[in-house]
């Protein structure tokens, strides 16, 4: 429970800053994670009826306080059609408390990037609980077990799942890979998408197991994106995310192959013209933008964030929305430190996505030539 700290000093989420949170979550989605737009509407409705959501830090909580990381699993497209009942978070909390034998003190996004950065906000409002200023990824990934908590040894299982219409499933799995696999199958049975609570842990255990500051970072990013013009946005991303501009140009080639679960493909962005002035950057994507190459050299790689912004507005563009001819700027920013560890790279480095390259920091850690 929060220690003595006056409420007005604490960060709140309400109708006034939800759009900024959503903009920030879009950037952190690195091209994936789904559109947070529906989450904004849901959270605004929930806050209107149940009051604002307080954002707490780990230091505000007792060591023994239970945290419930949560979000959706499955197809964001389906979620925009069979919209949530609104009860999902409350149901997850009940199941979670049964499973762990303790009361939930705060909800937490297991993924800040994309739609999952907003969904737990509406659930927190309905539960009357705070939201932790942290998440499990610092961005978006496609696999459920690609969590900082997994790297830190917090088990993804038991997994609580609900579909918002009275069905709940609890998975107790042999390991975290099984948890991801079975949760995905369960989501299919529940209608293509479902709500999930994973990685139950106490605040004391969370200290080195979560990515701290994600919600406030997304808010700062969202505010920064309101800067005038692309130049202002790039400056803001540079200062908030330590982002580097990789290229500013136009989409001249776009190849997308839709597989069963993953949007795979590549995109080429060209800048300048003529043999001397022309540059080309190629991005590889699997739901998210994962690798950036220029002249065969790796300039940025997952788990670092690669984001594509519209030149005109500076707004982030999802991998499925990119269009041929579009004017874009591509930026890369370092991922949270936990992903640069050996176990972190084993889980979410380029080889984990099937690419035969090793991770290297943005521009090899050298000064960017912009």
């Amino acid at each position: 429970m929060p220690k003595f700290r006056r409420v007005k000093d604490m960060l709140h989420l309400d109708a006034s800053n939800l759009p900024a949170l959503a903009r920030g979550c879009s950037v952190l989605g690195a091209g994936g994670g789904g559109d947070p737009g529906l989450g904004v509407v849901m959270a605004a409705e929930a806050i209107k009826r149940h009051g604002v959501v307080t954002v707490v830090k780990l230091d505000d909580l007792d060591e023994a306080a239970w945290l419930m990381p949560c979000g959706m699993i499955g197809a964001p497209t389906i979620a925009t059609e069979r919209i949530w009942s609104g009860d999902e978070g409350t149901v997850l909390r009940e199941v979670f408390e049964d499973l762990h034998g303790g009361q939930v003190a705060a909800l937490m996004c297991f993924q800040i990037g994309g739609a999952n950065g907003l969904l737990p906000v509406s659930w927190a409002a309905r539960c009357g609980l705070p939201l932790l200023d942290a998440d499990g990824m610092g961005r978006a990934f496609s696999e459920l077990q690609q969590q900082a908590m997994h790297v830190a040894g917090v088990s993804v299982s038991p997994v609580a799942l609900t579909d918002g219409r009275g069905n709940t499933i609890v998975l107790r799995t042999a390991d975290d890979v099984w948890a991801g696999r079975l949760a995905r199958e369960a989501a299919a049975s529940l209608g293509g998408v479902c709500a999930a609570a994973i990685c139950g842990m106490r605040a004391g255990r969370a200290r080195h197991a979560v990515v701290e500051g994600s919600v406030s970072l997304a808010l700062r990013l969202g505010a920064a994106l309101r800067a005038k013009g692309l130049g202002g946005v790039l400056d803001a991303l540079g200062s908030v995310l330590a982002a580097t501009l990789l290229i500013e140009g136009r989409v001249v080639d776009l190849e997308r192959r839709a597989g069963d679960e993953t949007l795979t493909g590549s995109v080429t962005v060209r800048a300048g013209s003529g043999p001397a002035g022309m540059r080309q950057l190629r991005l590889e994507m699997q739901n998210e933008y994962l690798l950036a190459f220029e002249d065969g050299a790796l300039r940025a790689a997952v788990p670092d964030l690669i984001c594509v912004l519209a030149t005109e507005s500076g707004t982030p563009i999802a991998a499925e929305e990119l269009r041929y001819g579009q004017g874009v700027a591509v930026v890369a920013a370092p991922a949270p430190a936990i992903w640069h560890s050996g176990p972190g790279l084993a889980l979410v480095g380029p080889r984990a996505f099937g690419y035969a390259v090793d991770y290297a920091p943005v521009d090899g850690g050298m000064e960017a030539h912009v």
């Binding site: 389906i78 925009t80 009942s85 009860d87 989501a187 739901n287």
Partner: protein, 447 residues
Amino acid sequence: MSDLRIGIASGTTGTDAVAIDDRDRLLATASVQAAGDVRGAIAAAIRAIVADDAVVPGAVRWVMLGSGQALEGVAAVQGVRKVAVVRVGGPLTLSVPPLATWPSALRDAVSAGEIVVAGGSEYDGRAMVALDEDAIARFLDGVGDEAQAIAISGVFAPVSPEHELAAADLVRRKLGNWVHVSLSHEIGSIGLLERENATVLNAALGGAAERLAVAVRATLAEVGIDAELFFAQNDGTLMVVEHALRFPALMVASGPGTTIRGAAHLSGVGDAVVVAVGATTSYVGALVNGIPRERTGPTEIAGVRTSLRLPDVHRVPTGDATLAGAVEDAKAAQPAGPLVVVGRGQWLVPDRMDGVSEVIRPRDGEFAQAIGAAVGSVSGQFARICLNRPDTRRTVLEEVRTAAIARAIDAGAHPDTVAVVEVDEAPLTYLVHPALRIRVRAAGPCW
């Protein structure tokens, strides 16, 4: 004597009319200043064009009306029908009630009440839960007197429209056949809130569309024209007035589509960037294979996010320096073909622009919108979502083709010459079982 077509384009500052013969020759043009109300301006334009000696009223067989302002009721929050809003999706979807995102003035003007009842489909077409017909019946008892139209939107209706059709049946049994019913699977694609919004707007706009049709027909009768009346759709194609009264949302923003098609007709070019320079607003769009390129993602009408398909145009105030940037963007996305400049203020666009090899200023380009309406083909389209399995895809594709052709015929296309002109299959991402959105457009000449 040659059969004539009259094309009418109504805008914020003026209304144009053109008369075209069956060899596509422009016989006469007329322009009137907007005299406050749209219907008055259209009537004045009709009187002006028949005053031309080249136009014999008895020879006019078709009148095509393109009017962005025809449905001004949406923006003005006047003249809209009261709509009873039925969503079929409970117990899901309750986190965002119907019309939750609407501007409150428009919502107050449109809504006769909203309800979410149990029902809807899964993404694979299976029923989610049984349709709660009792709840719909009770709701209708409560709003029946006030409601002038009913909008019904079911979860995954683009996959399986069964619950929407059953609900519509119930409405007709209770309220009679006279009441307008808009069904979401006939209006939009996946994304419940945007499709529901489009469906409610469609239901709300029927009255404005009807008043417009009555007024235009009265003027036509007055000047001695006995012609088939068509309205321009948002994509610049046409639909006969009876069809337009069922689907008025398809004509809320027809200006850019008709203008781009007019530019295509006048220039003879199928791929181009089109710049239309009006008195107050200019826009830049793209013509791809003779069709105005559409915007991807949701569109906004009167502050409401919808799934309505609109041309992808970039608007700038006329005379604004940002036009050059908009042209450059459009040119990069559509490198094939020249730049076609139309509209009254076309002299504002220079002959040389970055990245543009050729600028075409077709003759009579100032009447591109009215001409585009007059020469348009009649079209209908239909979309469905299905699982991407070879047998399912084949069956559904055939159903969608049949439905699109039926739509085009209902919209006034000749049954003997109507043909499928566009098949668009798009995979839906992040699905456990891959799914497909199949969209078909059929078109043909009017008759």
